[in-house]
Amino acid sequence: MSVPLIEVRGVTKHFVKRLDLAGKIARRLGADVDEEVVHAVDAVDLAIQPGEVVGLAGESGCGKSTLGRMLAGILPPTDGQILFEGIATSEMSGAQRHAATLAVQMIFQDPFASLNPRMRVEQIIGEAPLVHGLVDRGGLSDYVDDIMQNVRLDPSLKRRYPHQFSGGQRQRIGIARALAVRPRFLVCDEAIASLDVSIQAQVLNLFMDLREEFDLTYLFISHDLSVIEHIADRVVIMYLGRVVESAPTEQLFSAPRHPYTQALLADVPRLDQRKHIFAPVKGEIPSPLDPPPGCHFHPRCPHAMPICRMQQPLLREIAPSTFSACHLEGNSGT
């Protein structure tokens, strides 16, 4: 297997809520208060090959955005390693790290909050390539025109401010800003979730075109499984900070292995279902402040066994390039 473009090994992210003054005093006086720790991401391994589109799905609070942000270098992991082209970011030289940082860009969910309202579009798109010396001041205008055309925006609009654009156009500006530093890997965090259906389709098509034009690799984070099914080559399902299943898209959607994936897929509304009686998975995602012991999914799992309450199932390869973390797989002898 070739060297993955980007890889994480055992990355963990804990968010600690420090005690306030009252809490500290109470603890000094012997009260039973502790700092609250949110286990957002818990020892996740993930390798993404060049040119691959990996879909990352899960319910809100499962840690998918946190993982995406760590991959994009926005959040430092509490523990574990991030490798870019086989080199750990912690061991990189300054120049290497600079190149790796530029090569990974992120596209955010909210096109209203992620663009500076006081900057013109040409500044938003042109600032980073100018700072990083990808283009000189003389060639900047043409460069911005070029990038805007790449995302199917009219370059004559580049003197405008973000508020003068619609949601779909703003998302294109966000994509243009990411593309302007010629990245190789894009983390798209719910990049089309806030758009109308017809605009979603346009932006989704744009992502697919850009992938071919610029030879891009994506991590596509979405709660919408039909979007993931459409665009991704491989799907990773997370639950409460852990990866529960990872498989090629067709495999995962036709024969999901993990009970959580099965429940999730059964709940997705589809156009070809009529008068569907929903038989939903019971309960809600538990609090990441206090995750259940053993397998995180056992309180909601229809197949839960005693071992599921005691021991955490590890992510294992159960079929070629299909990984699942479930004790059921162990019992079937595979």
Binding site: Q202, L264, D267, P269, R270
Partner: protein, 324 residues
């Protein structure tokens, strides 16, 4: 008699920038126990239609024409007192944001008991028991404890279930649900749809499910009405609208939904964007994005009935045929 008959409904907003014709000629009827999906993108007027039915349109908005008949009774222009009698009693609404229904500083039981006693003189204890049973029916575990909670102590899915329980408290004949699951995860969405389906089936209430998600109503609704720029452009039985759409907008909308059979291929997108409601194009509002538009479309198309139970507003509809 139909539970609800809406005819020629027009709700306009008189803003400083001009008149926004948010709803501009909407017609439909709803029978007892029927589920209708009202589908459209943002700004299509689907929410304002729902608000108009409940008489909740605030200035600068106003219902300027048409009629809304509930069990034969005209609601447009009805006195506030009568509307208050009906709202939350015979006609209920579920909002996208449960905090639009719930008062953050009151406990759940206070709010639910109040909703019952506002319409019916029952002892507090009996009302409380009804509230408890109502929570149980929408699948809330240990309802007695939940009744004593404040809204902020519940999760989003739990809050939405409470609002559904409140909507069903007085056994309404008609429920308007405005994107009640849009902000929720798929598993919670499935739970909510399941509860709504169950209560409608058991009590025979009519339901209007307003959404932008065709896939949700495909599995839920008996009939679907598609709105664009303040008008219903296509309506019909769910099977007909989803499998054999006639209006180019419906065709485009369906083509925009990623689904298994088109995996990896480009989606059949609709060009352009939703029109500015202050400056709608002349004639058919979809004309500028429509692949089939011609000179005829410069005139407003009327709602026609190409087949029984189907309505469409288009000069160049797709033919009624079974797709290959």
């Amino acid at each position: 008699m139909s539970v609800l008959e809406v005819a020629g409904l027009r709700t306009h907003f008189f803003t400083r920038a001009g008149v926004v014709k948010a709803v501009d000629g909407v017609d439909f009827t709803l029978e007892r126990g029927e589920v209708m999906g009202l589908v459209g993108e943002s700004g299509s007027g689907k929410t304002v239609t729902g608000f108009s039915i409940l008489g909740l349109v605030d200035p600068p908005g106003r219902i300027v024409g048409g009629s809304i008949r509930y069990q034969g009774e005209e609601l447009v222009g009805a006195p506030d007192k009568r509307l208050r009698e009906l709202r939350g009693n015979r006609i209920a609404m579920i909002f996208q944001d449960p905090m639009m229904t719930l008062n953050p500083v009151l406990r759940i039981d206070t709010q639910m008991v109040e909703a019952i006693r506002a319409h019916e003189s029952v002892p507090k204890k009996a009302a409380w028991e009804r509230a408890r049973d109502g929570l149980g029916q929408v699948g809330i575990p240990s309802p007695e404890e939940r009744l004593r909670a404040y809204p902020h102590q519940l999760s989003g899915g739990m809050r939405q279930r409470v609002t559904i329980a409140i909507a069903f408290l007085n056994n309404p004949d008609l429920i308007v649900a405005d994107e009640p699951t849009t902000a929720l995860d798929v598993t919670i969405q499935a739970q909510i749809i399941y509860e709504a389906q169950k209560v409608c089936r058991e009590r025979g209430a009519a339901l209007i499910w307003i959404t932008h998600d065709l896939a949700v109503v495909a599995g839920l609704a008996d009939r679907i009405a598609v709105m664009y720029a303040g008008r219903i452009v296509e309506a019909g039985r769910t099977d007909d609208v989803i499998d054999r759409p006639l209006h180019p907008y419906t065709v485009g909308l369906l083509g925009s939904v990623p689904s298994a059979n088109k995996r990896g291929q480009k989606l059949n997108q609709i060009p352009g964007m939703t029109p500015n409601m202050l400056a709608l194009p002349k004639g058919c509002a979809f004309r500028e994005r429509c692949p089939r538009a011609g000179d005829a479309c410069l005139v407003d198309p009327d709602l026609t009935e190409p087949a029984a139970g189907r309505a469409i507003r288009c000069f160049h509809p797709h033919r009624i045929e079974v797709p290959a």
